[in-house]
């Protein structure tokens, strides 16, 4: 664990899909009504600022403290109470990060580099939402405000300057996107769901998000078909399996997910359908195993057939492409973390500068006041203001060198992220503060 320091330090304690199973993660999830109590307890013992981040894949607590040991103990103690588990049961699944490591981690999380689905966009809004709760509770101060805003900027940069969020990874989403590259306007198209498979239903739900025109559901059991229609919350034509050929005639998109030992859609059937459709294309998504659509159908002109393997290989290809972008994204994150740290390192010298200035100002004004009462009585107000200006000038010039030295020291630390360099400005500030202490 990190040693205690005088200046505020950034800390992170968390657990994610990489370190803990969902049954453990869910024990640390807090409802909105529990948050004020959680903040109250952690801040009572050494934590100055705090943000509680909770998503389906992670629970993380970011905090600022001047006493890291006490803060970590406080957070762990509160987590024990939240999870109702003894510390030994979860401590091995926790990760603790401090200073720059914590900054880099938050920037990676917000940029979706640490997500289960690399490059997904949802995490950005989840981080923003959780940060907003801390702000509203008055628990995010100068450092965490700056840190989270930096994280949002970095996430936007990573999304716009790399291709990490481009090219979808989910099978259902890929199927929808393919349909959107074939048809101009999905609201004018008719979708047909063949069978009541779970995946087929999911794909149909995706299509309804894009406001697909008409929906037909073809199934052996009409009751199941009606249940799906209710689930997707749309009006649908429910058709028995025997009428597949006539129902398929009007369909532009066919999602096949029926359990059948033989092909339900054959090239002969499709050829006659395609003939009647004229030049309008047909998109078939066959996610059933065994397959519902004869592969020969895909060779027909104006007919586009994708089976589960085709969709999966596209997802794999897209993932490979996203993985190739990781290096570029990490470079952006490192440079943004540097930018944040430069500002953060500067914070260490600000109190010292203010303190020295105040100290000198107190001496100057005190002495001047004493002299005015005794030896400078004869001076008019104008002359006294002149003397006041003169002493202020002398003070400013005297302090110029030590302040410049502090600022220069801070700039020298920029780019050196080892512990010594990072703490350099703080140490210099401490020495200078002590030099001028009474």
């Amino acid at each position: 664990m990190k040693e205690s320091m005088n200046r505020p330090e950034i800390g992170l304690i968390g657990l994610s899909h990489k370190t803990a199973p969902v049954d453990l993660r869910e024990r640390f999830t807090l409802g909105d009504e529990e948050l004020p109590g959680f903040f109250e307890k952690t801040c009572a013992e050494g934590v100055d600022e705090i943000v509680y981040l909770s998503t389906c894949n992670r629970v993380e607590i970011y905090f600022i403290t001047s006493d890291m040991n006490a803060a970590v103990e406080s957070v762990l103690g509160v987590l024990e109470g939240v999870s109702l588990l003894p510390r030994g049961k979860f401590e091995s699944s926790l990760y603790k990060k401090y200073s720059r490591e914590a900054v880099l981690h938050l920037l990676s999380v917000a940029s979706s580099l640490d997500s289960m689905v690399l490059g997904e966009n949802e995490i950005f809004f989840q981080v923003k939402n959780c940060y907003g709760k801390s702000v509203r509770a008055g628990r995010a101060g100068t450092v965490l405000n700056r840190l989270f805003h930096q994280a949002f900027r970095t996430a936007k940069r990573v999304r716009s300057e790399t291709e990490i969020s481009k090219n979808p990874l989910s099978i259902a989403y890929i199927a929808t996107e393919l349909a959107r590259k074939i048809f101009d306007d999905l609201s004018c198209q008719r979708a047909l769901l063949l069978g009541a498979g779970e995946m087929g239903e999911l794909i149909l739900k995706y299509f309804t998000k894009y406001n697909i025109g008409e929906i037909s559901i073809v199934n052996r059991s009409l009751a199941n078909a009606e249940r799906i229609a209710r689930d997707v919350n749309r009006e649908a034509h429910v058709v028995p399996l025997d009428d597949l050929a006539s129902a398929a005639q009007g369909a532009d998109i066919i999602i096949a997910s029926a359990s059948s030992p033989s092909f339900l859609v054959t090239p002969e059937m499709m050829r006659s359908i395609a003939k009647k459709r004229g030049s309008r294309p047909v998109f078939l998504i066959d996610i059933a195993v065994p397959r519902n659509v004869d592969p020969g159908v895909g060779r027909l002109d104006n007919v586009f057939l994708y089976n589960i393997d085709d969709l999966k290989s596209i997802a794999d290809e897209n993932l490979k492409h996203r993985l190739r972008e990781i290096d570029v994204a990490e470079g952006l994150i490192r440079s943004d973390a540097d930018e944040f740290y430069e500002w953060y390192a500067g914070l260490a010298v600000v109190p010292a500068i203010v303190k020295i200035r105040n100290e000198f100002e107190a001496i100057r004004s005190g002495e001047l006041e004493r002299y005015r009462r005794r030896k400078l009585k004869h001076l008019s107000d104008d002359d006294f203001h002149m003397v006041e200006d003169l002493t202020r000038q002398i003070m400013t010039k005297t302090l110029h060198n030590p302040i410049t030295y502090l600022k220069r020291y801070q700039t020298k630390a920029k780019g050196h992220h080892d512990r010594e360099a990072q703490h350099g400005p703080g140490e210099a500030a401490r020495i200078i503060e002590e030099l001028f202490n009474k």
Binding site: K166, N167, P168, I174, E177, L178, R180, K181, I182, F183, D184, A274, G278, S279, R280, P281, G298, D301, N302, F304, Y306, D310, S313, I314, E317, N318, H321
Partner: protein, 279 residues
């Protein structure tokens, strides 16, 4: 001055063509923006080039300038530039960049082909001043350009269809317009090409009758032209009635365009027989 401007224009178009194709390959917005800026610069010098040629160094004017070989090529490229600008402001704006990336190399090709004829004195021999002649030339060139647009659309359709059937990657697919919109564009372009080329043919026949007292002289180019028009009529009829699937229609479109381009561009220069030739 003209030579320097021509070289500048050519270099700009070559670089823009490379960048257009590269931007399609990489799908990088930065390359796309650079290509767009270069295209604006190339078009500006191209327009200046025409002004210098037709109004400063000669007094031909644009239409009469088309009576020379270089002027004919310039007018062809100019018509394409004008149509690209029109497409940008039309309902095809979403598909505009895809068409432009293929059209810019074509303009470059036209400029390169025209290079040996920069100083050529060869002209179309029909200079009777028939009032229909300039109209015939402009209509025919516009028809060719619309036909060229349908050619680009057909190439895009075949590429998109091939990519969708190949099922390898979605990255390239995402850079192209939707299959349905390409097909709609093709129908739009072919309808206009057919109409304009039909008018071109009729106006040409009237000019020939006025000058030679016959509508048909039986030259090889006239025969190929009438045959192509008949094929185009069938293509238009099949495509618009939904009687031919877009795949076959696109293949036919590409083939027919190559044949017509041969007639319009090369036959006019190298087969000097008949009144279309530059002599």
């Amino acid at each position: 001055m003209f030579d320097v401007l021509f070289i500048t224009t050519l270099v700009l178009f070559v670089v823009t063509s490379v960048l257009c194709i590269y931007s399609l390959h990489t799908d990088d917005d930065r390359h796309k923006n650079r290509a767009r800026l270069l295209l604006i610069a190339a078009i500006a010098t191209f327009v200046a080039l025409g002004a210098v040629r037709f109004y400063l160094t000669t007094d031909d004017g644009v239409v009469r300038g088309a009576f020379t070989i270089w002027g004919y090529f310039y007018l062809l490229a100019l018509a394409l530039v004008v149509l690209l600008v029109y497409l940008y402001f039309s309902r095809w704006r979403a598909q505009w960049w895809s068409f432009t990336t293929l059209a810019v190399p074509f303009i470059t090709l036209v400029l390169i082909i025209s290079t040996p004829f920069l100083d050529s004195a060869r002209r179309i021999t029909v200079e009777t001043g028939h009032w229909l002649l300039p109209l015939h030339i402009v209509i025919a060139i516009l028809g060719e350009i619309f036909f060229f647009l349908s050619f680009i659309g057909s190439v895009l359709y075949l590429v998109m269809e091939w990519q969708l059937k190949k099922k390898a990657s979605m990255r390239f697919i995402f850079r192209l317009p939707t299959l349905e919109s390409i097909e709609k564009f093709n129908r739009w372009a072919i309808a206009r090409a057919f109409l304009l080329l039909s008018f071109g043919l009729v106006s040409g026949a009237f000019v020939a009758y006025g000058v030679f007292a016959t509508m048909f002289q039986g030259s090889p180019k006239e025969i190929i032209l009438y045959a192509s028009w008949t094929v185009m009529l069938s293509l238009f009829w099949l495509r618009h009635g939904g009687r031919l699937d877009p795949h076959r229609a696109s293949q036919l479109n590409v083939l027919l365009f190559v044949v017509l381009m041969f007639i319009f561009m090369f036959a006019n220069i190298y087969i000097t027989m008949g009144f279309h030739g530059f002599k």
